[in-house]
Assembly symmetry: C2
């Protein structure tokens, strides 16, 4: 088995989906977590000066979604057929578009507010909520199409993990996040109840993001 080292801050953030994939597959890895100070020291050693980075037998793979896709393909959580894998990839990219769209709110909450969006209540009403409504609409279509409780036919994938982990941060800040969307709240809970994921969620280091 390859030697895996995952480098990231001491938070869920963009590394959590990969950690969850290791947990789902019962594959050991080194979960290397560091402070911002230590990161600044290590920054020049990472391909794009950022984390997460996965090291596989000494070879560095950067970029959160690329890392998760790599692990998901290895461990069987990336989609069954070539077409299904592409649809899962597309769901992730759609989620990333959502993540970029909600930056004025999200980045404000984590303390790096984009100029002009200092009023977080305004960012919530004008950016987060409309983006949520659009994105939840896509998720509902996917859930209705499959009828297995997850976004694609083969079962749980790394797309579910990215989306649900991000929801964990958002519902932590906006308790009414699922208001008017009971199917999505049920989906959120269903993913977290997935047996091996539930075990990981109970024991992992926890935080707001």
């Amino acid at each position: 088995m390859p030697n895996y080292k995952l480098y990231y801050f001491d938070g869920r953030g963009l590394a959590e989906t990969s950690r969850q994939l290791f947990a789902l597959a019962d594959v050991p890895f080194e979960d290397i977590r560091f402070t911002r100070e230590k990161f600044m020291e290590l920054k020049p050693t990472f391909p794009y000066g950022q984390v997460p980075v996965l090291e596989v037998d000494g070879v560095q793979i950067p970029q959160s979604v690329a890392i998760a896709r790599f692990l998901a393909k290895k461990f069987g959580f990336a989609g069954k057929t070539e077409v299904e894998q592409a649809i899962v990839d597309g769901i992730c990219d759609q989620w990333k578009d959502f993540y970029v769209e909600i930056k004025p709110y999200y980045y404000g909450k984590v303390g790096v507010c984009p100029p002009g969006w200092e009023d977080l209540e305004k960012a919530k009403t004008e950016v987060l909520i409309p983006a949520r409504d659009k994105f939840f609409g896509f998720l509902k279509n996917l859930l209705n199409k499959n009828n297995n409780g997850f976004l694609v036919e083969c079962g749980i994938t790394y797309a579910d993990l990215f989306i649900v982990d991000n929801m964990t941060s958002l519902v932590g800040w906006v308790p009414e996040y699922f208001e008017g969307h009971p199917e999505i709240e049920a989906y959120y809970k269903r993913v977290q109840e997935f047996p091996k994921l539930k075990v990981w969620l109970a024991k992992r280091p926890n935080g707001p993001i």
Copy 2:
């Protein structure tokens, strides 16, 4: 062979890499191009209400990078090993981060200027050029590492295609785009000289974006 239909506007934009992959592989496809009016009519039929969409024997795959990755994997332009495929994926995600970063300039040029960035000269100096310098630095590291003229060891991939097509738009607007970066200009030309790509570039419908 599957039946492929690629839906997009009549421009290069986010569909061009997939068209180029069909050209590199000599695989026929229906290149369905439409006006904005026709798009508005078809919009509700696409999974996320946007294009490009690839139809494979009637199954729709949305999201430009997911489509290109699907085709690149089929046609042999996605990386050779699992690790190399992940590195190519990561390069694409890094390029997409660059694409998001330069929005104030890029979107201004295509007529959907984000608020506060009406001054395109300012957007060029304050956003595009610093983002370019950072991104070109990453590309130089990759090119130096490989020494085969492309970004990864196996040769040309869909990451080269996305990056070089995007450069075509940028250098069309900013003639000095490669100033001070001769290695990147050489890379830009080298990709376009790739034999089957050169044939496609000579015959394709052309435009500013």
